[in-house]
Each structure stands twice: as structure tokens, then as C-alpha cells.
């Protein structure tokens, strides 16, 4: 019913390519998140699916049926827009009821009323039904647009940045709610966001989009722990991953990566990893280290010692930038940790936690064949 299959779908506007050769299968009842920076073609992908912009090349199947030329009304999809797109001249009730009044439906006024009220209850906005969109807050508008999408029980939900314009508190709550709703309704969902936390916490699978190209698809843990390239590693994760240029030297079965700015920072890879990295045949690589992977301590026993350059404490976790003799390193700290500028901090990085990227193509040497 609710499967969506893209077969090398391409969308061009004149010279510009908005979506490039997109191939993707989204399973029934799956929560699929498309994440990427602005201008990556996320919204275009949704609009292609909804039939609001025509496909230039390739095939799109919805529920097993070729949908390329189907008008939006016949695709049985529902969409929320980043701007919410609530009809300003209709009340909240009428906004939500709009899909039920379409020529495709044959419902009595009584049935419409029941359905709208059920959805309003589900989204906890029963008291808002008589208001007009201009009288609502961002979070409330958001819920109305979700309600309008849900009221008809479509085969596929297309959600465009649904949480980007609501304030932090509501966002947290809505994220949990969205997850619950989707599991409850078991409706295939394509969810677009630029926020990696949303992507990683909501998605059954995540697709990373860059300049119209799908860079990586996988379960959130996969995409996070095995990024295919620097772009994915940088985009998913906060604070941003440390990228350090390093030289390769290899000797009997092991590979040694030495940071160019500070040779004291080095990693030794052995076994299969060494083999893979060596086979790539690069003299130089870029080493990626997540700020979370740098274990710090005040003990003097550590192999590596850096100086505090900046420290930004926060309630949840701190962010520390260490100056390791000319090499800046971003480190994530516990909320309770406190540092002074200039303080010496010992740290350690396990070679198991690092990524090795090709400095020219940005590809992860260990995930590409």
C-alpha cells in the first residue's frame, strides 16, 4: 500500500539539477528521514513524490503503481509544508476538514465532524477548532498542518521540516509525539529535516542528501558510526567532527598515521584496517575524530597533553577546544566538568574511534570499495 520507490529520478530546472539520479526504496510503514543542508533538494524530493513538480527523468512508484503522471489528488499522499500552508480564510476545523471535503471523498457532515474531532483530540488541540490560523502560535499551526495531513489516513505522509519553526520546548515534545503517532498509525512517512538529531532519533532509516544526490542511506546508527564521507561525518554530529591531515607510513602489517601539524598525535592501525587503508594507496589522509571520542582526564599519566584554548560550559555537556601544540581539537565534556583557559588537560584517543578519509575525494577509505 504505502511503499515508495524512486528509480533514478532526476529533476532539473533549466540548467540546475535539483535532484540527481535518486534511487531509493521506502518500505511499507517505514519512517524514512531525509537529512541534508538547505538547498540539497529535500523539499523538491517531497514535491516530486506529491506530484507538485513534474519528474524530469526516471520512475516513481507509489504503492507499486507508476505515479509519474498521476495528479497529486490521485496519489493518496498527504504533505505538510515548511510554511504550514494553512488556508487563512478557513477555521482550524475547516482546514483539517478540507481533505475530507474533496471530490474523492463521500462523507456526511456528521462523519467529517467525528473524524476532525478525533484527529484534534490526538494532537491535543480540540479547543482550537474555531480559531483562524492567524490566531495560532507556531507550534499550534504545526499541529493543524499535521492534523490536515493525518485526517484522511493516506498511504504516505510527506513531512517537510515540520519542527523547524517551533520553539525548543515544543520541538522536543513534538518529536516524541511524531514518533508515537507514526508507530501508532503505521503509515509510511518521508520526513525531511536539516537537523541531524531529528534525523537520528526519528528515522527507521536515514538518507543524507547533498546537492541533489543521495550520499548515504542506512539505519541511524550505521550512518552515524560509518559515514561514507567527510560530508556525512560533518553533517551528522554536534560539535562538528575534528578533521586532521595526516601522513601515512607503513611497516610490516601496520599503518601509522601521523598528524601533519603535530607529529605527537599519531595512530597505529593494524590487521584488516591497515590493509584497507594501505590498499587505497594514498600518501596522505584526513583523520576524522568525533569530539565525543576524545577521552580527557586531568591525570598526568596520559600520553597526550593539550592546553585549554576555549571552554564553553552548558547544562547538558560542555564543549572544549584544546590547543595541542598548534593543533586545535574539539572535545565534548561532561556537564559537570570545568576548565580554565590555559589549563593543561591530558587526553587519549583510541584508534578504534577514528575515521580515515581520502583527502581528495572526501570518501571514507574503510567504507568504500
Amino acid at each position: 500500500m504505502g511503499t515508495v520507490v524512486f528509480e533514478s529520478v532526476t529533476k532539473t530546472y533549466g540548467e540546475t539539477v535539483a535532484v540527481k539520479d535518486l534511487s531509493l526504496e521506502i518500505a511499507e510503514a517505514e519512517f524514512f528521514v531525509i537529512v541534508g543542508p538547505s538547498g540539497a533538494g529535500k523539499t523538491t524530493t517531497l514535491k516530486l513524490t506529491a506530484g507538485l513538480v513534474p519528474i524530469t527523468k526516471g520512475k516513481l512508484y507509489i504503492g507499486g503503481k507508476l505515479a509519474n503522471t498521476l495528479p497529486p489528488a490521485e496519489r493518496n499522499v498527504a504533505m505538510t509544508f515548511e510554511s504550514y500552508a494553512l488556508y487563512p480564510h478557513m477555521t482550524v476545523f475547516e482546514n483539517i476538514a478540507n481533505p475530507l471535503r474533496s471530490p474523492l471523498e463521500t462523507l456526511t457532515e456528521e462523519e467529517i465532524k467525528t473524524k476532525v474531532e478525533t484527529v484534534a483530540e490526538l494532537l491535543r488541540m480540540g479547543q482550537l477548532l474555531e480559531r483562524y490560523p492567524r490566531e495560532l502560535s507556531g507550534g499550534q499551526k504545526q499541529r493543524v498542518s499535521l492534523g490536515r495531513a493525518m485526517v484522511r489516513r493516506p498511504a504516505v505522509f510527506l513531512l517537510d521540516e515540520p519542527l523547524s519553526h517551533v520553539d525548543a520546548k515544543v520541538r522536543q515534545y513534538m518529536r516524541v509525539e511524531l514518533n508515537r503517532l507514526q508507530k501508532e498509525l503505521k503509515t509510511t512517512t518521508i520526513y525531511v529535516t536539516h537537523d541531524y538529531v531529528e534525523a537520528l532519533s526519528l528515522g527507521d532509516r536515514v538518507g543524507v542528501l547533498r546537492e541533489g544526490e543521495l550520499v548515504q542511506v542506512g539505519r541511524p546508527s550505521e550512518v552515524y558510526s560509518r559515514p561514507v564521507d567527510e560530508f556525512v561525518a560533518k553533517h551528522l554530529g554536534q560539535p562538528e567532527i575534528n578533521l586532521i591531515d595526516a601522513r601515512i607510513t607503513s611497516s610490516n602489517g601496520t599503518v601509522r598515521l601521523v598528524a601533519e601539524k603535530n607529529p605527537k598525535l599519531d595512530f597505529i592501525l593494524d590487521g584488516k584496517r591497515a590493509e584497507t587503508v594501505r590498499r587505497a594507496g594514498r600518501a596522505q589522509v584526513r583523520v576524522g575524530i568525533r569530539p565525543q571520542a576524545i577521552k580527557h582526564s586531568s591525570g598526568k599519566t596520559d600520553r597526550l597533553v593539550g592546553e585549554v584554548y576555549v571552554f564553553e560550559p552548558s547544562v547538558f555537556s560542555g564543549q572544549l577546544i584544546l590547543d595541542f601544540q598548534g593543533l586545535p581539537l574539539t572535545v565534548l565534556t561532561k556537564a559537570s566538568d570545568r576548565f580554565e583557559v590555559g589549563q593543561r588537560v591530558g587526553f587519549d584517543i583510541s584508534p578504534a574511534d577514528i575515521y580515515v578519509f581520502d583527502p581528495q575525494t572526501g570518501k571514507n577509505l574503510e567504507t568504500t570499495r
Binding site: L52, A73, M79, S83, A85, Y87, P88, H89, P99, R148
Partner: protein, 290 residues
Amino acid sequence: MKSSKGESIFEKIILDTLLVVLFIVILFPLIWVVLMSLKTESDILSWPPKFLFDPTLQHFRNIISGVTKGAGDVGESTVRILHYFANSLIVSFGSILVSIVVGVPAAYAIARFKFRGKEDIAFTLLSFRFAPALMVIIPLYVIFRKLGLNSTYIGLIWVYQLITLPMIVWILRGYLEDISPELEEACLVDGYSHWRTFWRVTLPLARPGIVASGLLAFIYAWNNFVFALILGSTDVQPITLGALQFITAASVRYGDVAATVVLAFIPALALSIYSQRHLVRGLSFGAVKA
């Protein structure tokens, strides 16, 4: 810019005074014409002008009955002012109706879609407005005579499109461009066809714009003189030309002219007062984003 709250009392007084002066300057001719229409012929011509006089409804009686008497027995004639008035209504409303039926879809297409020659079409429409009527009136006269459109309502309504259509298309274009296409997209996804979406979402949201542009175009159509003068006969000519009938070789019947003018400006005045809010909002909508 300074907000109205930040103005000093002194500035307020000056602004208010200027407004009053402007108000008088603009309204004085209207008031003067109303006074004239209520005066006897001799009061009208007296010097210094009289502001206090015995009002008479004779001129209105004259223009309504159709048989008019000038001062004394001079220049008795029949001028069917109500007939001219009816012509005005038919031609003005007719041309607005045609303009809206044609202009709303045209404005929508220009506002929403990309197609070749779009700006050229839009500009051609606009150019109807800045080409003076006198420049095109003679070729039009020849065309009309060949087509047998001289002195017909259809002919006048047609030629009035030069006045009303560009105005409606251009005002509505800006108005429609301000309605987010995503609203229409949402309605399409809700299960409606393009056509139904237009009726359900676009048209209701564009209504103030349609009212404003329609009203403005109506006033221009109502005021038109030269097209009807050349392309019409007394059968179809509007009230703007009807007033001319009182200017005869024998005399100029100022009182009857004034009464006709009063009759003529009542519909325009009533309509603009009635829809003033629409007009202000509609005309400023394109310029100022809400």
C-alpha cells in the same frame, strides 16, 4: 521613519491642517455642483456667488421627466437623462464583468506560470493604458464602422476593455503573486483538481484584490467620455455625454448640467465609500507585505 506616536503635537496640528485644506480643495467642486443643482438659473449666474438661497428641485424634475425647460421659454427640449444613466450602468458594469471574467484568469496565469512571451503580453496590456485614447480613436472608428459595431453596447463594452482590462490584470497580478503557491499545492495534495483549488483557495483569498481593482476600473469606465463620444450615438451614450446635451446653441443650462452631474457621481461615490476598506487594502497589498 517616525511612527505616528512619536510626532509632537505641533506636527500633528500642521498635518491635520494640511489634511483639512486638501479635503476642502478636493471636496469643494462636489459641494459646489450639489449647491448649483439646487439653485434657480438666476441664482447660479449671480455675482457674488450665493451660498444661501431658496433651494429648488426643478432641475432634478427636469432631468427625470425628460422634458426640460430652460429659463423662460428658451430652449425647451427633451433630453432623456435617465436613459443616459442606464446606458452608463450597462456599459460600465458590462465592461467590468467582461474584464473580470477575462482578467482574473489572465492575471493568474501571469502571476503563477512561466511561459514564453509572458512579460510581453503583460506589457502590451499595460500599454493600452498609456496610449492616449485620441491616438487610437480614428482607426478604431474605421474598424467599428466596418464591423458594424458603431453605436452598440457590445462595441462600447469592447472598447472599454482598453480602460478596464489592464487595470484589473495589473492590480490582480501583484495581488495574486502575494498568495503563496504552497496554499494551492496543499489543496492539490488534499485531493482537489487545479480548477477546484482555484475556486476553493485562490479566489477567496484574491477577493479583496478583485473588488479593489474592479472598483477602480469601474470608476474609470464610468468617467469615460471620448470613446463613447466618437463610437456611440445617443442610443448607447453614457451620462457623461448626456450632460453635454444641455449645452445648446441657445443657452447653457447650468442647473440641469449640475443636476446631471450629481446624478452621475452618486453611484461612483456610493461604491467607493462602501468598499473603501477593500480599496485601500487592495491597492496597498502588492506594495506592503503583510
